[in-house]
């Protein structure tokens, strides 16, 4: 009898825990992350009206998401209109990796953005790539949301 009661109570506690933790995670990612890719705007700056300067990546990934491709198409259209502008693509990683691997990963991310811009007619002569690895986070937090903002490639005007 007693054992049953204890078990029941434990179960309740466990269920409550699950409910709480589910709340906590969903609260964090609401409108800010899809999977672990950042979808918010609070760190985003604009090259021109309606042309966001950065795209975000999943952990350890350099694949462009649908949203990233849309952003890069807007950048390409703007760059075609402003044909004297040259750019630096700055690739970044979050702090949850070794420094050297992250330098390579940042380079790979910036190149993913570069390749996409090139397929929309931007000459590689106008694009240079610079990886910062994990050296220049925008958000100094140590949590999944901060890390998602830091996994990025930022298009910066070079002239």
């Amino acid at each position: 009898m007693k054992l049953n009661k204890i078990l029941k109570n434990t179960l309740l506690v466990i269920v409550a825990c699950f409910a709480l933790s589910a709340c906590a995670t969903s609260k964090k990612s609401t409108g800010q992350m899809q999977g672990d890719v950042y979808t918010g705007t609070d760190t985003v700056e604009y090259l021109a009206s309606g042309v966001p300067d950065r795209v975000f990546f999943a952990t350890n990934e350099s694949v462009l998401t649908t949203a990233s491709r849309e952003t890069l198409r807007k950048q390409a259209a703007w760059l075609r209109k402003n044909s004297d502008v040259t750019i630096v693509l700055e690739g970044h990683a979050d702090e949850r990796g070794t420094r050297e691997y992250n330098l390579a990963l940042g380079e790979r991310r910036a190149n993913a953005a570069k390749d996409y811009l090139m397929t929309y007619g931007i000459s590689s002569d106008r694009i240079s790539v610079l990886s910062y690895g994990k050296e220049r986070p925008v958000d100094s937090g140590s949590n999944p949301l901060a890390w998602s903002k830091n996994r990025r490639s930022v298009t910066v005007k070079a002239n």
Binding site: R96, R99, E100, Y101, A104
Partner: protein, 444 residues
Amino acid sequence: MLRILIFILVLPFKAFALIEVDITRGNLNPLPIAVSPLSIDEKSKKNFEKILKKKDIGSEISIVVENNLKTSGLFNPLNKDAFLQAPDIANLKPRFEDWNLIKAQALITGKVNYVDEKLRVEFRLWDVLAGKEMMALAFTTVPNNWRRVGHIITDKVYERLTGEKGYFDTRIIYVAEEGPKTKRIKKLAIMDQDGSNNKFLTLGNELVLTPRFNPTSQMVTYLSYFRNLPRVYLLDIETGMQEVVGDFPGMTFAPRFSPDGKKIIMSFARDGNSDIYTMDLENRIVEKITNHPSIDTSPSYSPDGKFICFNSDRSGYQQIYIMKSDGSNVKRISFGKGLYGTPVWSPRGDLIAFTKLHKGKFYIGVMRTDGSGERLLTENFYQEAPSWSPNGRVLIFYRETKTDDKGEGFSAKLWSIDLTGYNERLVDTPTDASDPSWSSLLSN
């Protein structure tokens, strides 16, 4: 580097040594050792006080020795207040009963003299239980080298009692860090292994990362973002001369020297792909070692120069691989759960140290060169980049703290741990610090 002359006063009788320190296991009973202050005559004392601004240089040197022994975790230097015998008399002939009484098993005594504007130090190591002298040595050097004398004495004592070379007369090059996490200012810095003589080598105008010592000289290779072009550089820390390594049309990074000091091995990133290259420092010939569309980085040679371990994500995730030094016979060796990075070959040749990320935790560990026998030494929120002491018994690495809800409270510090997994210690630095690299022994 100033030479230090070493004379052996008496040949040690190795075969009769009674005390021995086992460094292959975690040492829970450090050897009780008495480090008697080195005795010094009044005239020498005054001379050194004038030159070095130290009241009693004999006592200062013995403190260096004492700290080294304590930090090693293998020795327990006894409190000097309990010493019954005066330093000068102890150095002539210890009263072993007195030292036995305070439970000392070994005793270090010595003498300091001012001779022809030089510092002359002699010291003796005694086996208290057997009542015998184990070793006697003398050094002569310029007075400014007094701390190094303390380190060399420690190396000699360590070698005599453990049977292996020490690691005390060495330096650490690292990256000194300051400022907020989002705008970190980084400088190259160098210090003695015990944290003294800290010196900054760059001003902090550009980002610098991953300095590494040449095992055969006082050269350093590192990554600098000079003019926003991340490139591998070579720096002579004696002259301050530096030069860019090779002429690559893109980022070069993750540099290290070959064991003979004649080549630099590094990654070169281009078009989203990082491969491993070497450059011969004499004839400037560049060779491509890996050729794979994945990220290949963090290369490190085996001590005989015949093999290279490196980090690659060719399997989909970061793992450790080894290959022959010409790039052939690539073989994955890490198969445990999680991601593996920063492999570094032990100077003893038998182990590879690494960083591992598993379930949100970072570990420093070691495995044999075929990947077997993985052993995790320490777990933390974030730590990476182990570097071996020259005798392959200690690892130094850096650790970063988790920030709070406001993104504050970040720090990066150097830590060391014995290969046994014991004796984890914070290595004190004046600023925050990362990317440590241990030099070879400065003297032999």
